[in-house]
Subunit: 363 residues, 2 copies
């Protein structure tokens, strides 16, 4: 508390990220990091860029990275131009800018009641009115619930922390009905939603038909670069223009030289990306089956984590019991409907086995 | 323009950074980058950090870097604790957060009419009322002009683009008179204000006596790391708490793993830092003398640039004539009082000689 703060700062409720423990020995399955490291070509690109040129500012437009992203999605048949791509210092920064730039409207913003908890925080930061729309009884997003006047719609697909995927046909149905406000699909986990090989059914395939659709993604999950901070948005040029206006009024150079080089290399190494997604998807299937054999009920996951609960055990005591064995998972505790759920990141085969062993000790 | 933008976005006037040309051959004296590269220990630290750990999120608190900064300034006798340090993705991000967190007040914010032009942009972004206080007839900041009710005071020291330094005694005089609002001293260039060896008279020496003083710095100038994005603020813990609340409502992980490691190494290599400041200061003296011999009048500079004009030549035509010879300097053009001034970054000995040769051709 300080008398020098702007008034609204006293009422802010900041986001609480998953713990980043300083100990090395822990099995860390709490923040949905990728079990494999990034592509060796990414490491090479960083080392090649780390020289005297660091004395010079980066390209404020991150042009090479935008081009690599446009090329990647054009290669998938979606016809994306560089001017349709925005990049930021992690997808959290991209989200922050778009909340400020698009969601300060007369009608309330709509998002699910159980979802990425940073959305509410941005509303607090930018004083945006919102309605948290309850997930249905299966913990799914129901399109019909969003068919009403609004100042914007945002949800992750797959949703977090449920991991449930909305089919692209439902997203398109909503876009057809909702033409007067912006719709943002937050695809942090989309690359784990396909049938192996990564990619999934990204809504980027729709941006050229819907001028009010913006799709965000991150390199922290499927590209295994959480340790760098690179996020992106793809959409109609007028939406990207709006984001650029915010960015250029906030920080001219959000991405540094190393991040730009690393991001380009990450989008170019398709093989490494596919191998990584493939491994996560296989391990997710294995882990879900093992949990099921032990009485856990998991939601169908299209992400790199499982949202699961055990009818005979409290979520809090399971999380605590795992922690005592050196394994960290995420337990949100609220709202009530998910109080007994754990969100468990899919780790390496060894980590997943360690988790199962620890549960066998516990149960 | 888009109907999906928040209303205020239509009226934003974004900052325009100095040009970052894509051509290699240019002598680039337009954005105040350091002529020497960063410390070899910084490069080593980046390469050592670039491995599989990039799959993991960085420390959201950037604790090692905050500690290195606290240690550095404590070593200078200023007794700074880690909890008094804030870091961000470039000092522009730090400034953006503090404008939002501290300067939304009932009274107007005060800053010089000729100063870092991003301040006005932040006011537009966060809808902050401000008064631009004219520099006096010598293009200096006059302390008396700030002795009036205000919602905050900010100026760079040395000021940009003038390069003029305000003595610490004047800053303290203002702090003694101005106790009810926050004062921010933006020390992007302070390390070039000393008598060789770098460091200068930083106002960080005052933060433990004035709870309303916040000092910002950047690693882009004297630490030669513009290509990374690292900025910092030092002040009373309650001010740092306020910044953390904004940061944690915006982006949990503003600094990536490579930037944290590089920043630590940069603050640890005192010798490289001193050598670099020393060279810039010597070259600044040489360049100023050479310009003077050719009829230029330069303001006394405590920064790594000179703000200079020639009574017989228009600023615009000088800038254009230099560009035609492959040398870029910064020409702002307005306001009227500085329309004929050039802001010239102090480069390497070779670059500075090239500039002088080009002027000899021109004049």
């Amino acid at each position: 508390m300080s008398k020098y703060w702007s008034e609204f700062v006293h009422h802010l409720e900041p986001y609480v990220p998953g713990e980043q423990p300083k100990m090395d020995k822990l099995v860390k399955l709490n923040t949905n990091e990728h079990p494999l490291g990034p592509s060796p070509k990414v490491i090479e690109a960083i080392r090649a860029e780390a020289d005297d040129r660091l004395r010079l500012y980066p390209d404020p437009d991150s042009g090479l990275l935008k081009q690599a992203i446009a090329d990647y999605y054009s290669g998938k048949g979606h016809g994306i131009k560089r001017s349709q791509v925005f990049v930021g210092n992690g997808s959290d920064e991209v989200l922050a800018h778009l909340f400020m730039g698009f969601f300060r409207q007369d009608e309330p913003l709509l998002f699910p009641d159980i979802t990425y908890s940073f959305y509410k925080v941005y509303c607090g930061l930018y004083q945006i009115d919102y309605d948290a729309v309850p997930l249905d009884e299966t913990l799914s997003i129901n399109v019909e619930d969003y068919l009403r006047p609004n100042g914007g719609i945002i949800f992750p697909n797959p949703n977090a922390p449920t991991g449930k995927l909305m089919p692209l046909s439902d997203i398109e149905r909503l876009l057809q009905a909702n033409t007067e406000s912006l719709m943002v699909i937050d695809e942090a986990y989309i690359d784990f939603s396909g049938n192996k090989k990564g990619g999934g059914d990204t809504a980027i395939s729709l941006v050229n038909r819907y001028p009010n659709l913006l799709v965000t993604q991150t390199l922290s999950k499927s590209r295994s670069l959480a340790g760098l901070r690179i996020g992106l948005a793809v959409g109609d040029e007028a939406l990207i223009d709006g984001l650029n206006r915010i960015k250029d009024s906030f920080n001219s150079y959000p991405l540094d030289r190393l991040a730009i080089a690393a991001g380009v290399a990450a989008f170019e190494d398709q093989q490494w990306f596919e191998k990584g997604c493939d491994q996560v998807i296989s391990q997710r299937d294995w882990l879900k089956e093992q949990l099921s054999q032990r009485g856990f009920e998991s939601l169908p996951s299209a992400a790199n984590f499982l949202f699961t609960h055990h009818p005979q055990h409290r979520g809090a005591s399971l999380a605590q019991g795992l922690r005592e064995q050196g394994i960290i998972v995420r337990h949100f505790g609220k709202p009530e409907r998910i109080a007994d759920y754990l969100r468990i990141t899919v780790g390496t085969a060894e980590q997943n086995q360690a988790l199962i062993n620890a549960l066998d000790t516990l149960l």
